[in-house]
Each structure stands twice: as structure tokens, then as C-alpha cells.
Symmetry: C2
């Protein structure tokens, strides 16, 4: 028997679309509905024929016992207000945003008769839109869950089961801890990659034909959609700004050692970086 | 008929080993010799059985008409001195280093009866050593050639033919132009990736188990061998330091916009970065 009778996905881009496909493929609920802001995505989803596609978010969530909000993080408050009147008592609402403290705040407008628990599946891509959705996008990927501790434990367990059904590995922590962790492994790297490609392209002898896999890999994530990422960077501003300030210091430290021809300092810097980077490939 | 009668590879790690394999596989010369500083690499190369392996660099180059020096860039001057007495008149000497101005200087100790032309195949990897060598490492990869203009044109043409035989696409420019170009697309990204992984790992909530493909790709090149890269960063210090200073400015600009909650500024920064990064995938 399914954990949920009716799953609704609000905002069906890359992540939301992949949830629709994953739920449909695994038959995780007898009823599956969705909504997307974009006409093109709604049309695309209708053509897939795996979920009932609605013209409004409120219509899409009516009667659902699990609602997954997968819009950009800066739309969260607006979506919560919009769907609130249509939510059924006892339903579980979650999201997929890359920040969790600000979203917990946004979710306070939801009615008291529903349970909100934040989720964050780490399965993005620089490719946006439902047309890039994949039914196995969450397979073996980390998914954060950030309960406050006030939720009914049965609701948390059902939501954990949902993500496990999609193949995710779960990590449960506070919203604040999540935001600091993800600033380190995702948001600061995104900011750095964007600053790096702007920098190298501004140098007088830059020639894109000479870019090898080093530059391409280092800056791949900078191809991400700017509005999505503006929302993320601003919603998690404090840990990101702190990390970027530290990053500027480290860059300066390496630059000064290079300017001074200090081989020992450059080598120990690069060696420390190498050891940490190599350990990432060993981590699970 | 082969362009060369005897090709010698001095320093057979990842790049040199791949040249040995590529030359052997394509039968680019009737005689193929090599030397590596490391006992393990010499043993590995002997076991491959495709080239005669010598105990000294001088012995390896004796009688060769093409000598490829593939040692770390900070060994170049020493190697040039060491092999000079054994070089045959009329032979062509090249290297594979990631910097070219300083290497051109190092090569001035070579005897006047040989022709030195700098090469730089852009085909590195964070994996060092002959055991990672691949016979097709240079296939479809860019290779810089940096003649001074004083070389016999026949020598330049023979060297161009050699790299083309290994599958490379050629780009010919001055050593100075090369160094500025490669600072932008390779050396500055390497420095940034090293500073980034050191930074994020120093943040209090960093957890390597939560690192996704974003952080891994962004910092992959930081796993490179530190002594090799120390030599490169110091040998090309000026363009790298200039670029890193600009990078620090761009990071600061983005950080201030985030701290100020300036969505317009953050979005225009990320959008400009996205456009440039997307253009890299379109470049050839």
C-alpha cells in the first residue's frame, strides 16, 4: 500500500519534474498532480501523461496528502500563501530548496492543520527546466531533512520514506546547520565559480578556444540559472558572505606567496589543498 | 617514412609516458628511448617494453633527432645542462611545460647546434605518474607551440608534424602570449580551486559526506601534485598574480552585493558569468 494517496508537485522544473517522473515510475501514489508556472513546462508535463497538470498551484494541491513545493526559493512565501486555502487538514508539505532557515520562516504562513518539514535533495544541475527531468535524479543522492522537532514523528517518518523510495540517502539536521553545511559545499563554490569565469574572461589574453577540462570543470556550475541562484545566495547570505570573506583571504595568501617567490609556502598551500580534495573522493 | 629516426623522451611521468605510448603505438620513429627520474617509473616503462629505458637522461638522448623533455618545469634548466653534451647537431629539442617564457630562458644553455622550440600539450590530469599514461592522451587536445621566429622553418614544421601525428590541434604563438593565455585558462583556475577547497574545509559545518558533484568538479584540479604546480605557479608568477588580484576583487564585489541584499547586482553578476560559461561549451 502506498504511503500517500495523492502527491502534488508545485513547480515542476528540473527538480519538480524529476519528482513527478520518479513518483510515477515507482507508483508511489494512486493520484499524482502538478502545476508549473511556465506554459511550456505544463505542456511538456501534459504530453508526458504521467500526472494531472493544473493551471493553478491551489488547484493542483487540492485533496493531496503530500505536497512538494519545488519552485525557486524566492517564490516560496508567495506559493505558501497561494496554496494555503486549498490544503487538506493533516497533509504534509515539504519543499526542495537549497536554503532552509528562510524557507522555514516562509512556511509559517501555512495553516496550523498541516505539517511542514523542509527537504533539500542535493541533485541540481546547471540544466534547468522540466525537459531535463530524470526519473532517477535522486538515486543515491543526499537529501537533507530539517525538522524543527515539533512535527508528529509519523509525519517525519512518512516523508523520510518518500525520499527513500526515490532512492535518496537521508541526512537529518536543523535548518541552521543545513544552511551552513550547504553554504560550504554548494553556495560558496557556486559564487567562486561565477567570479572565476568572469575574472578569466576579462583577462587580455583569454581565448575560449584554449579552455581545457580544468577551466570547464572548475566553472561548470556557473552556467546555472541566475535567478534561481540569486534567490539562494540572498536567502543564505550570512554563511555565504562569511565563507567568501575567508576565500578572499586564502586567495590573497596564495597570491602573496607567489609574488614573493616563496616556494615553500606555495607548496604547503597546494599540498594541504590536495590532501583535502583527495579525501573527497574517498568520502561516501 | 618517419619524420624522425630516433625520439627520446626525458622524464616519463603522465605526459612523458603518454608520449612514449603514443609514439610506439603510431610507430612514429624506428628508435624510441626514454628516461625517468623515478625507479618505479623506469621499471614500469621497462615492463611495457615499447621503448629502451636508460638510467640517465644523457644516455637516453644520445643519437636522438627529437628530444622531448617532460620533467616538471622547475627541473628544466638542470635537465638542459645534463643532456647538452650528449645532443647531436641538428637535433630538435622540445618540452611539454605549462609555462614557456621561463623555459625559453632555461633552454638557452642548450648548445647552438640544436634547435629548441617550446611545446605545451594541454592534456594534464590530477593523476600523476607513468602508470596513468594513455596512448591517446593528446588526441583532439590543444597543443601550443611557441617558436621565437629564429628557428629553421623545417624544424618547426617537423615538430608540428610530430604533435599532429599524436592527434593534437596546434596553436602557435609567442611564449609570452602563451603564458598569459594559460594563466587565464589553467593556472589561475588551479590556484582558485586550491584556495576554494582549503576555504570550505575550514568552515565549521563542513562535512565531506555532503559534498556533491558541484564542489567536486569545482575543485578537482586541486588534487594535482603540489611540487609540479608550485613550479608552474612560480614560473608564471606575474600573470597569475595579476589575475588572482582581479579574482579577489570579483569575489569581493559579489560578496558585498550579497551582504547588501542587492538582488539586481547579484543577478547581473551571475547572468554575465552564466553567459560566458555557456559560451565555453560552444567554443571548439
Amino acid at each position: 500500500m502506498s504511503r500517500f494517496k495523492h502527491i502534488a508537485v508545485v513547480g515542476a522544473g528540473l527538480i519538480g519534474g524529476s519528482i513527478v517522473l520518479g513518483v510515477a515510475r515507482r507508483q508511489l501514489a494512486p493520484t499524482l498532480t502538478c502545476w508549473s508556472r511556465s506554459d511550456a513546462s505544463r505542456k511538456f508535463l501534459r504530453n508526458l501523461g504521467v500526472a494531472k497538470v493544473f493551471e493553478t498551484a491551489a488547484d493542483a494541491v487540492r485533496g493531496a496528502d503530500l505536497i512538494v513545493i519545488a519552485t525557486p526559493v524566492d517564490c516560496m512565501a508567495e506559493i505558501c500563501r497561494e496554496i494555503s486555502p486549498a490544503l487538506s487538514p493533516g497533509s504534509i508539505v515539504t519543499d526542495v530548496g537549497s536554503v532552509k532557515v528562510s524557507i522555514l520562516q516562509d512556511a509559517t504562513v501555512l495553516p496550523a492543520h498541516v505539517t511542514f518539514i523542509g527537504s533539500h535533495p542535493m541533485a541540481g544541475s546547471e540544466k534547468a527546466g522540466a525537459s531535463h527531468a530524470q526519473e532517477n535524479l535522486f538515486q543515491d543522492r543526499l537529501c537533507f531533512l530539517t525538522p524543527t522537532g515539533k512535527e508528529p514523528s509519523a509525519s517525519l517518518e512518512k516523508l523520510q520514506g518518500f525520499w527513500k523510495d526515490l532512492g535518496s540517502r537521508l541526512f537529518t539536521c536543523s535548518a541552521k546547520q543545513h544552511d551552513a553545511m550547504v553554504a560550504a559545499v554548494s553556495h560558496i563554490p557556486h559564487a567562486a565559480a561565477s567570479a572565476l569565469i568572469l575574472t578569466v574572461a576579462s583577462l587580455p589574453e583569454f581565448n575560449s578556444n584554449s579552455a581545457g577540462s580544468g577551466l570547464k570543470d572548475t566553472t561548470r556550475i556557473a552556467a546555472g540559472e541566475e535567478n534561481l541562484w540569486t534567490g539562494i545566495l540572498l536567502a543564505n547570505a550570512q554563511p555565504i558572505a562569511t565563507g567568501l570573506a575567508e576565500f578572499e583571504k586564502q586567495c590573497r595568501r596564495l597570491r602573496l606567496a607567489i609574488e614573493q617567490g616563496n616556494a615553500e609556502e606555495v607548496s604547503s598551500f597546494l599540498k594541504a589543498a590536495k590532501k583535502i580534495r583527495q579525501s573527497l573522493d574517498e568520502a561516501k
